[in-house]
Symmetry: C2
Subunit: 493 residues, 2 copies
């Protein structure tokens, strides 16, 4: 029976590989007119993949298999599969297929709407996706709050109650600091010039490799919105987007997606081969990407060996900018409208806003037409600024077009986990010294051994406890931000 | 029953789309370490695709369906399917799957062998592929000559007898001309300089669009060996390869693959949706790519509007080279070792050599170790030159690694068809004048209406007869080459 189950999982892996590749193709290079066929093929393969495990025969095997004689890894596979099964079997197959196709089309419509700055183009798709998710929550059931079902999809064990508490602390502690810094920021911390995108591409390749991305197991490419996609630990792909006027966008998205990718590339072979072969949760995934992006990538010590190489690429544009000035620029903090370009300090507020909106969507009958205004109002309330376009407001992020509700809060949780991991790592060796030395070897070894190698074999709580010897504690994050930005602005200015 | 058959064909299309995309990915961007997983997924999906139609239920439907009430298009689909079925059902599924995986791996090994200039790396794979094909011929049966079975796969109705006759003419008529030109060619028709590959890329994009490639339905990318891949008429992809020292390589492979792609993009929607949605045969396909590449692309009138744009990209390298000089350079004829870089006149001899070798492989028990020497001997005999490396000899082409035996002769047949089509097109309007005017509209309309739109709905013989009002006649080709090269060398020098 075990062999039969694992044989079916092998087949499912082949389907899922093909589906992921179609997705990659769509986002990075497929011609415009190919959309319809790609959506159809993805829909068909998703249905096949779904049918492989959502059927009575498979269910029988899954619940009757004798787990005692299995290895710990196989046990965990069966356990995870049962959980996934319970989630999926409640959704009728036709709806699942329709929804898969819808999200493919919606992603392309979102892009069109964003380019045209026209919410109306995306609205009907958004509405359908929300309605599907509400139906799915009904099918699947929920505890305490409908949104809990979605939160748990991305972060096992996460609830509205816990997330509310986390964001309450963020609001209390960070909003006053942000408001103070907004008044202190003189707005002169900007890079000026035209930065050749071919040179940016070269630098992104260098940077990815520098932090530990292995090009024999990965690809870097371009897309509208940067993302990471993993087929298995030997094929992990990241994208970025190059802007002539803003080289920092590609620099930090490369480090961010690179962090995700290094996590995936470092999963042990024996785990990578199974359904546990991916990051354990979105929150832990984001803890890695944000640690690389912010705690390493926006760290003065990181840039000591790296900044001269960037200056070499852009001697005219950066020759006169000192390392210290550059460090202040990459940590410039000011309320802004675009989440993915927000600084480390204001970033969690962007996430908070989406969290509050999503919570409202799933607890009430929100009128879709009202969403852009609600979005803008929250930006005004928390950050003191208001988007004047959809592109800078509700249309900025891809997630909703792919149906990823419940995802956003993991971004802020991830940052908080990162601070806790960083603190634990610093107790083992001098992380700052390593960054300064220009080598990621010790750092990557620590992260691989404690976090990356396990994939989904350990859940988020286990990873946090085993690595840091305590439960999740958001105070490390608050303290880290208060200290870093206190030094940068309140004390220094 | 009809609906059921067509539903299964829809599914097969989805699998085949995914398989083609995996192939595209492998050839153009997948990381090195991903090979194993990609091969496994392709093998699995090939097996699924195969199983959909190679089974008793499908066979029953296919042979019992009442075809009289069907549309002509559906009738042709059923007829083609029966032919494919007969071909495939004779090969055991396990062997088919094993062979599919083998060719994926062999392609990568071929690349490695070519880079290392080491035949030994590729030899065991080549041997296995040949043995599989010999077994397949046994399973499938043959008439008169085992190689006929393979020739017919690429060119319906083609036989050793007919091909021998065609090549006999080529040998008789062209080898003396080639030998004469070899003595006349002073070897000074070369471009010199370093041609920036980014600029070459820009020019390839321009050129593809100029000849009629539609970027809303296609992609241009890079690979080791240029090729065209079509998912359907709305997604056709071509590759090229850029060399700093030789911009003509990318220029002509772009036009060549562009010709293939325009054929595919121009297939009528209703046909594209079916299994008939591809070029009718390799020979007719090559007739299009070679007409674009040689009869248009190496034509003085073509370059009158285009050459100034190439000069603009490379003012230093081409500023001093006149149009007439450039025309002589792109038509420089001299015996050489690499088929894809051969001039139009010597090209069919490269094909003749592969044809003779393949024929020998399938009619006798050739020792694989002897193949490189046999290859070199033939080059010496027919072209008066001998490869000193495997890279310039037997390892130069990708085809054998993918199992494409029987394919090569269609390259030369294609050139011959092209001359016949060109002759017929010239009777309709002044093709030379169109080329000079800088517009491909009339030309592309003619080719779309007479050839492209039908896909596989008409077979090669029908296409040739309907378009040119006569049977295949290789004399157009011989005359075209004698006239063009006579003018270029014998009369002018």
């Amino acid at each position: 029976m075990k062999d039969k189950i694992f044989e079916i999982l092998e087949k499912k892996k082949a389907f899922d590989h093909a589906i992921a590749l179609l997705h990659w193709d769509l986002e990075t290079e497929a011609p415009k007119m190919a959309l319809e066929k790609i959506a159809a093929t993805m829909g068909f393969l998703s249905a096949e993949s779904y049918s492989l495990i959502i059927n009575d025969d498979f269910k029988d095997m899954l619940y009757n298999i004798e787990t005692e004689s299995l290895s710990d890894l196989d046990k965990k596979v069966i356990e995870t599969l049962r959980k996934d099964f319970e989630k999926l079997e409640k959704i009728p197959k036709e709806e699942y297929v329709e929804y898969s196709q819808l999200t493919v089309e919606a992603t392309s419509k979102w892009e069109e709407a964003k380019n045209a700055d026209d919410f109306e183009i995306f609205k009907p798709y958004l509405e359908k996706i929300i309605n599907f998710n509400k139906k799915f929550i009904k099918y699947r059931g929920y505890k305490d709050h409908p949104y809990n079902t979605l939160l748990d999809d991305y972060e096992e064990g996460m609830t509205v109650e816990k997330t509310d508490e986390f964001f309450k602390k963020i609001k209390q502690e960070l909003i006053p600091l942000i408001k103070k810094i907004n008044t202190l920021n003189k707005g002169d911390n900007k890079l000026k010039g035209v930065f050749n995108t071919d040179k940016q591409k070269e630098f992104s390749k260098f940077l990815a490799e520098y932090i530990g991305f292995d090009f024999s197991k990965g690809v870097i490419k371009e897309s509208e919105h940067p993302f990471t996609l993993n087929f298995d630990n030997k094929d992990v792909r990241i994208t970025t987007h190059y802007y002539e006027s803003d080289p920092l966008s590609a620099v930090f998205s490369t480090i961010h997606e690179g962090g995700h990718a290094i996590y995936e590339q470092n999963i042990k072979d024996e785990i990578s081969k199974t359904i546990l072969g991916e990051g354990t949760s979105m929150g832990v995934h984001e803890s890695q990407s944000r640690m690389y992006e912010n705690m390493f990538g926006r760290n003065l010590n990181f840039w000591i060996p790296v900044y001269p190489k960037l200056q070499e690429k852009f001697p005219e544009e950066l020759g006169d900018i000192s390392l210290e000035k550059f460090y202040r620029i990459v940590n410039d903090s000011k309320s802004s409208l675009i989440r993915i370009e927000a600084d480390e300090l204001t970033y969690p507020i962007h996430v908070l806003i989406r969290y509050e909106l999503e919570k409202e969507i799933f607890e009430t009958d929100v009128d879709i037409n009202e969403l852009p205004k609600k979005w803008a109002d929250k930006y005004e309330e928390y950050l003191g600024i208001r988007p004047e376009t959809f592109r800078e407001g509700i249309l900025q992020d891809v997630h909703w077009s792919g149906g990823s509700f419940g995802y956003f809060s993991s971004y802020a949780l991830g940052s908080a986990y990162a601070s806790q991991f960083y603190h634990a790592m610093c107790a083992e060796f001098d992380v700052e010294k390593e960054l300064k030395s220009g080598s990621f070897e010790k750092i990557n070894t620590y992260l691989r051994e404690n976090i990356h190698q396990y994939g989904k074999y350990k859940n988020p709580e286990e990873i946090i406890m085993d690595t840091t010897k305590e439960k999740f504690n958001p105070n490390y994050y608050i303290n880290y931000l208060r200290e870093k930005y206190g030094k940068l602005y309140v004390l220094c200015n």
